[in-house]
Amino acid sequence: MNRLLIKNGRIVDPANKIDGLFDVYCVDGKIVEIIPPNPPLEKGGASGDFKVIDATGLFVFPGFIDMHTHLREPGYEYKETIKTGTMAAAAGGFTSIACMANTNPVNDNSSVTDYILKKAKEEGIVNVFPVGAISKGLRGETLAEIGELKDAGCVAISDDGRPVLNSNLMRLAMEYSKLFNLPIISHCEDLSLALDGVMNEGFIATKLGLKGIPNAVEDIIVARDIALSELTGAKLHIAHISTKGAIELVRNAKQRGLNVTAEAAPHHFTLTDEAVTGYNTNAKMNPPLRSPEDVKALKNGLKDGAIDAIATDHAPQNIDEKDVEFDKAANGIIGLETAFSLSLRLVDEEVVSLNALVEKLSANPAKILGLHTKGSLKAGNDADITIVDLNKEWVVDASKLKSKSKNTPFGGWKMKGKVIKTIVGGRVVYEG
């Protein structure tokens, strides 16, 4: 019997509408009870064979869920593996992660999904939920076997890393996905407009002499996909939303009752394109870091609920792919281990309440991905729990991060709020 008691913590569980001091009892990987911390344990509140975690002064949240991670395995194990990626996730307080299909081979058939799940079971330390490809080989030409992917365990479909440029194919994917009730996670980028752009189009790009990517690159496809979602009724989730215009489109779609959700990445609401100055390739990502106005719009979207989830778009890249000329450098940054602390700034800035933040890191992604036993600490759910010290300060040392790659623009940043324990299925997988 695996029994765990988390005592005296401040529980914030938005889906369960709980915010207060409670004890959490877990048995065999499930949450069995949440009760006020009275009477104290030593006076016989619980039977003596519970392993006790004293969470006095700490916050206890439903385990965070990152619905947008690149684990790189199979195919790019030199950047990240399922083992190192899940270690990074655990260190960041994530108990579940959804991994994107742009591996090699692409996760467009059940054998790849099986492989990922098998590896995750053997070597992973947090829950891994594969995302299947929309199109075969991510080529945007013909649909992948979505039914098979669903049966194998995929929780969503996405060609992330590449857009589905063919509108008809996207329509077909949406219609088809309804059969399996799978959300479509859309990477919205009009490549015919983006061309060989490498950063946000703006004065910084003008100064640096780097080719810009205008906001319209994202807005156009977001608008198209919302129209297609309206046409088909499919569940559409906008990945790594970055522009003011796209947020407004999502907000409007929600007001019209469409089945549209969106996620934002911490780097997009923390940094602007100014971070590229000096040709910092760790500030190169897709979508690019945007203008201060877009950052403001992202915060408003997080505040008013236009943006449902915070997702990392954790994209490990090897140093050799980053330590090159800016226009040749690979896109993306690692994000799992800095996501929570960066997101917590939103609470300090009074953009969102702590409750809303936790919701965007747990309950909402669980809901979007249909993970019914996760995202909340209610009795019967999986004992996936993140324990955090909101006041603990730390400094990001890229070389000490768990991820196999070190491509972060946040090295040397002073952070507030640190994950103290990450618990997956009632077992502590990370202690900070």
Binding site: F203, T206, K207, L208, G209, G212, D323, E325, D327
Partner: protein, 308 residues
């Protein structure tokens, strides 16, 4: 006054008095190029590497002559004859060059920011000889020297830069340079060739060439890259030339003693008509002459003091 920086990566970083020092030093070096023995022993025993990732006759030759007139040993590495074609990274190239202990590296690269990467990897001074669409500082310095010689000043002059501003490193460096020295800088070109927010650099933006060159003291014509037509930035060369080519008729709008600059090589009959390019207003060959002096000055100022 001295240049306190290790590298010359762009005009954006330079203070006004640094630019003035470079220009006055270059004026002194012009005389050396007019001697019968056009060589001074100043940088004897120093090694200067010209690392060119992009074809360039004019700029590379100018740096090479400048180095040789200072008695430095100039080594040219160009993309076609180096291991770059075998896929060596800039980082590895930098490390290898560093191991040979050069005293200065001049780099021309198709990627914006490549000189900045190089400068962090090597101990010696790095001079940016043009990076992508970012900056071309030695070109702007020679342009400023040419204009200063002609007018005796730069402050208060009206300088019109005409052409593909979006893709022009020459334009960016000159906007910074002339603005810092107190000139009024105007840029003009097709809207498809105008970079976002360029007016924030302190210049005025025109989409009509006649307006831009009205009362101008200096007209700087940029070279139009013919491959931009394929990218659709303009429909035909003919139409571009009609709108933004400089000919005698358009020139009437400028001041009587206007001067014309062009970084070269010139597309005759496209951005500038032959009669104008070869005419009395043209300072194109003065630019070339001043290029050597400016580059000698850069070598002198970067290598002439101790590095500790």
């Amino acid at each position: 006054m001295k240049i306190k920086r290790k590298d010359i990566l762009g005009i954006e970083d330079l203070a006004k008095d640094e630019i003035e020092l470079i220009l006055s030093t270059a004026e002194s070096f012009k005389e050396v190029s007019e001697r019968e023995i056009k060589k001074v022993p100043t940088l004897r025993g120093r090694t200067i590497i010209n690392l060119f990732y992009e074809a360039s006759t004019r700029t590379r030759t100018s740096f090479e002559i400048a180095a040789k007139r200072m008695s430095a040993d100039a080594v040219n590495i160009s993309v076609s004859s180096s291991s770059v074609v075998k896929g060596e990274t800039l980082r590895d190239t930098a490390k290898n060059l560093e191991a040979m202990n050069p005293d200065c590296i001049v780099i021309r690269h198709f990627s914006s920011g490549a000189p900045h990467i190089l400068s962090k990897l090597v101990k010696c001074p790095v001079i940016n000889a043009g990076d992508g669409t970012h900056e071309h500082p030695s070109q702007a310095l020679l342009d400023m020297l040419t204009v200063k010689e002609k007018f005796g000043r730069i402050e208060g002059l009206k300088v019109a830069i005409i052409g593909d501003i979006l893709h022009s490193r020459v334009a960016r460096s000159n906007i910074y340079g002339f603005t810092k020295l107190g000139a009024e800088v105007r840029v003009a070109g097709l809207p498809t060739m105008m970079p976002y927010g360029i007016e924030n650099m302190g210049c005025r933006v025109f989409y009509n060439m006649e307006d831009a060159i009205k009362d101008a003291d200096v007209i700087m014509m940029l070279r139009i890259q013919l491959e931009r037509q394929n990218a659709g930035l303009f429909p035909t060369v003919r139409e571009y030339s009609r709108l933004f080519g400089l000919d005698a008729k358009k020139l009437e709008r400028a001041k009587k003693d206007v001067v014309i600059l062009h970084p070269g090589p010139v597309n005759r009959g496209i951005e500038i008509s032959s009669d104008v390019a070869d005419g009395k207003y043209s300072l194109i060959l003065d630019q070339v002459k001043n290029g050597v002096a400016v580059r000698m000055a850069l070598f002198y100022l970067l290598l002439g003091g101790s590095r500790e």
